[in-house]
Symmetry: C2
Subunit: 292 residues, 2 copies
DNA sequence: TATCCATCATAGACACCATCTATGGTTTTC
DNA sequence: GAAAACCATAGATGGTGTCTATGATGGATA
């Protein structure tokens, strides 16, 4: 059965023990004397024992109070240890960074690797997520930063970064591999691989239906790497952000498909601890420049 | 610096860890789910770290939460130990008894000694005091019982005991040592010793002034034993309750001085712990009979 | 002996808080 | 697509922690 004593009342108790009277104990605990007096009374009710023998001008511990004193000190000590354990673990600077899952791991990896060369002591905790997931985590402070799509333009919580277009990629030996531009109609007989987590899935669908083209869906996956691998293997084409392109595939521009996304570095929603502020500022400056 | 976390929030935290979700944790902690959710949020604010990673249907400890968990358990453990230390110490029955300081230590000692022969395991904590001091201690529960003067007649907080008169005592070889009754006038030339803590000091004074008698005050003391010793030594006479009389002195009755006091056993102002109830009841019965 | 001082206890006022119910938002399951 | 499970938020409300004002008491001092 968990005892129901309150920590703040233990502080009052220890203040009385250390000062010898309620008035000075109240000063030490930063409350008024009646507050402390009532607090001691409440603690005694909580534990069911009288802890102090009061007389005018003098306060003494009762037998119960004497037995209670080392235990009260142990409780306060454990509370301090608990806080310390939490605080110490954040003293080596760790930046908790969310990355939109459709961002290229390769380009983000290069970004972070180059930053670590500038600041070798930094550590990153990386989490992938959707736009919404990253937003939620920023909000509940389980992330410090996020690299994601900046849709709002609000400048106080996000640093604007580069824009990148969405492009259509096809296998290297595709019949249009020599072309750089195609029309939707050109793809009417082609196979389409669907990246189910693509941010512009509905816009892409509309692009084709507006042109009376219905590509054949041959494969669906939430895994971007798998999708690109299937394109490289010749199963079909897909729409990806430019940064996901590598040399296993060929890029063609779709006429009239001018979708692009604006990336942003989302900033912390709370005051960073002192030991992280410095390196966080450096990170913001570095990313702003590297992905301008 | 003392951390400001609250014990009841630690209970919520541990309930979440043990159940795996907020809803069942709330049931275990006997609060509603929104209360527990807000409580976890408050704990995280108090310690400055996010302790749980929430997703729909699942809650996981963060790194900070993982580090915090053994510390939280240690705090709760220490609280339980503190309560246990207080509670265990009251398991051998101790009766905390206040005794009016003008009661005869000898007669009270005999009373208690005889009771201990009936109940050898009982222990007494004895405290002397004035009527008001004893009343205060009963009120603040630092005393269980008090043997004092019963002035009020209220039966639910006090058991009526014997009455005893106040008598005038003189040295054994006093010129009135052969008499059993004297008038105030007879004492006009005599010396008076004053017991400063006598309950009937003002009534005694009035008794003499009403009879135009002003005994000479020769000695004042709050110490009854000292007063009686001075009487025995021949310094003068004094007024005492009958029970303080011993064979070192001679009692004379003052004409018209019929003051007496009604003794009472004042009962506890709170529910005694279970292990004390039994012996306390026995004590009440014993004293009621012995001092009827 | 009367007055003053130091100290604890109580009373009433009040802003804040812990908890409730109601409900929203999201994800998973069927 | 609907239902279920679960966390988060909003508003209402009784309870609480703290304040100021003041009472009660005993010791010190004049």
């Amino acid at each position: 059965m968990v005892s129901m004593m309150d920590i703040y009342l233990l502080r009052y108790f220890l203040a009385v023990v250390e000062t010898g009277n309620f008035t000075r104990a109240a000063e030490r605990a930063f409350v008024t004397q009646p507050t402390l007096s009532a607090g001691i009374k409440k603690l005694e009710q909580q534990v069911g024992h009288v802890l102090f023998e009061r007389s005018n001008r003098r306060v003494f511990l009762t037998d119960a109070g004497t037995r209670f004193l080392p235990r009260a000190r142990a409780i306060i000590h454990e509370c301090n240890v608990a806080q310390q354990v939490l605080d110490e673990a954040t003293q080596t600077p760790v930046i908790r960074l969310g990355i939109l899952h459709t961002l290229s791991n390769r380009t983000v990896g290069m970004l972070l690797e180059q930053f670590r060369q500038l600041r070798p002591t930094v550590a990153f905790e990386i989490v992938d997520g959707t736009e919404q997931e990253l937003e939620n985590r920023l909000e509940d402070r389980s992330l410090d930063f996020a690299l994601s799509i900046n849709r709002s333009g609000a400048m106080d919580t996000v640093v604007n970064l580069r824009s990148e277009p969405y492009v259509f990629i096809v296998p290297k030996h595709h019949r249009y591999a020599e072309r750089t531009r195609v029309s939707a109609v050109d793809l009417a007989e082609d196979y389409m691989i669907v990246r189910t987590r693509c941010e512009v899935l509905s816009e892409t669908s509309r692009y084709f239906t507006d042109r009376n083209v219905r590509p054949r869906l041959v494969y669906r996956t939430p895994n971007d790497s798998r999708a690109i691998a299937m394109v490289a293997a010749g199963l079909g084409g897909t729409v990806v952000p430019q940064s996901l392109v590598d040399d296993r595939v060929h890029v063609v521009r779709l006429n009239g498909f001018d979708l692009e996304r604006h990336l942003g570095l989302f900033l912390p929603r709370y005051e960073l601890p002192l030991e992280t502020k410095d390196i966080a500022q450096a990170f913001v400056e570095y990313v702003s420049e590297a992905w301008a």
